[in-house]
Symmetry: C2
Subunit: 308 residues, 2 copies
């Protein structure tokens, strides 16, 4: 594939940025890549592993001459970055981001960008529990979804080019408006993460069950919660602070529903429980059919034991 | 390895029983295996795939002459099975089970067993979302834990033999008392399952987010919940009805803790959220170090896509 952008600049060099760099290189989607990170250690690692062609000390330097700038910092850091880079952006450049909430990013970034720069917010739905410039790998986005939330009147050519970039990195692309994105993600990601964090916190707090018991016996279900509860704390703090309304709404629904099941347990209502548990199986089937998970027994974990 | 039992009888032929049959055959741990299942379809499948040496129509016939009987039925069905098999058990035989709760199984089974039969309740902490006689595989228990809850005065030879069987099937064995088992499992398994069921139910119920959106965007976290919310509805109904006290206790702690985080979100308390999310990472690290999960990026899912 021929290069879609002459110069791609990453602000922030964590899991998503480093995976994008690998995926862009795999498909030859950019003429050159630059990057910067707030921490000197991350910049040093990025240089050492030659993640991008040039690592700069500041975001202002990194975006110089770039026709695509990707903001890969926690949502809470977006505004400061937007202020810093604004005077240095090339005319006609596209600015995008990979933040997990979209309305808050738009409010933080859009007002600072100059006329003639195309701002197209984005969110790739992919991740692992790891972070930092070493955590990236080219396959992260393969067969995953990237949601773009272009503003009204968005330049169609700029939008098509960004869509082509994500497809070139292996992702499927969907477009939706920012409020709907934030609600959908509150359901599929933000609330599940908060619940997983809570459950792990409860287990950690109990006096009568030791941490070592929790760890040894985690294969009975708990393990699946710890995976998502191990994600980057700063990123998740910012998600909850900036997608507050939608998360609280879904949490309210969740608590209401949990009370129904809790009451059924207390009252011994086996019929209600059985019906409820039967209904949830269909959604699981849908996820496997849609290629968003594997149906393999124990999810491929067993065969990997030798490599652990 | 030489056979530990001359004749092993499985009552119920689902995921656990069929995996035990494969694991026992892999290591040559039994002279012969018999089995029965309530559904004619399951018995037919078991015959077709030659899961065991002989499939019987009734539990009474299946246990005839067995020196080990393994009860692999939902917890709610244990008492009826115990009544049925009691008159047919060979003197000196061991009866064990694989139920997810232990106190309720002991109350249901122990009173019906004749003198001279050794009852040693057990619970292998392993599973997948699949069920039925075709779902088993020999590796299910490799490097997983099996908890036995022997009663006071349990025959040491019978206990050692059963421990050797589980080790021969690849598992590690722990002993504990039944009430502690039920509390530990309420934390590591039962409450996480109920929460996962609830979250999937909420997602399914929302009008403003479609099921197809939930499914498409599930890789952002929700997917990990659907996996455990797809387990066998009958088994889980029985778990919650029979481990009611411990589950309600842990649910109470969970709700309390969730309200703390919910309030922190509402009040914008980023410090509390960040500290909480940092603490949960350590538990995850412990689970990987203990060999109960893999650290592979995206948990090995990506490499399996071709096989889906």
């Amino acid at each position: 594939m021929s290069a879609l952008y002459q110069r791609v600049a990453f602000i922030g060099l964590g899991l998503i940025a480093s995976s994008m760099a690998h995926a862009i290189r795999r498909a030859g989607l950019a003429g050159a890549m630059t990057g910067t990170a707030r921490s000197a250690e991350s910049r040093e690692i990025a240089r050492e592993i030659a993640l991008v062609d040039a690592v700069f000390e500041t975001a202002a330097e990194a975006v110089e001459g770039a026709d695509l700038v990707v903001l890969c910092v926690p949502v809470g850091a977006m505004e400061a970055v937007a202020r810093e880079i604004a005077p240095h952006l090339a005319p006609g450049a596209t600015v995008t981001d990979v933040g997990s909430v979209k309305q808050a990013v738009i409010h933080a970034v859009a007002p600072h960008l100059p006329q003639g720069v195309h701002f197209i917010p984005g969110h790739p739905l992919a991740g692992t529990e790891h972070s930092g410039p070493r955590s990236g790998f080219a396959e992260l986005f393969d067969n995953r979804w990237c949601i773009l939330t272009p503003p009204e009147g968005c330049d169609p050519t700029a939008l098509q080019r960004l869509q082509a970039l994500w497809r070139g990195m292996g992702a499927n692309v969907d477009l939706m408006d920012a409020p709907h994105h934030d609600l959908v993600l509150a359901v599929t990601s933000h609330t599940p993460h908060l619940i997983a964090y809570t459950m792990v916190g409860v287990a950690d707090d109990l006096r009568r069950v030791t941490d070592s018991e929790v760890i040894k016996y985690s294969a009975a279900g708990f393990r699946d919660f710890t995976r998502i509860a191990a994600s980057d704390p700063t990123m998740w703090r910012d998600v909850f602070l900036t997608n507050k309304e939608a998360t609280l709404e879904i949490l309210g629904r969740f608590t209401e529903e949990l009370f129904v099941l809790q009451r059924a347990i207390r009252q011994g209502d086996g019929v209600l429980l059985h019906e409820y548990f039967t209904r949830t199986r269909a959604i699981r089937r849908g996820i496997i059919d849609a290629g968003q998970d594997t149906d393999a027994p124990d999810f491929g974990r067993i065969r990997q034991h030798g490599a652990e």
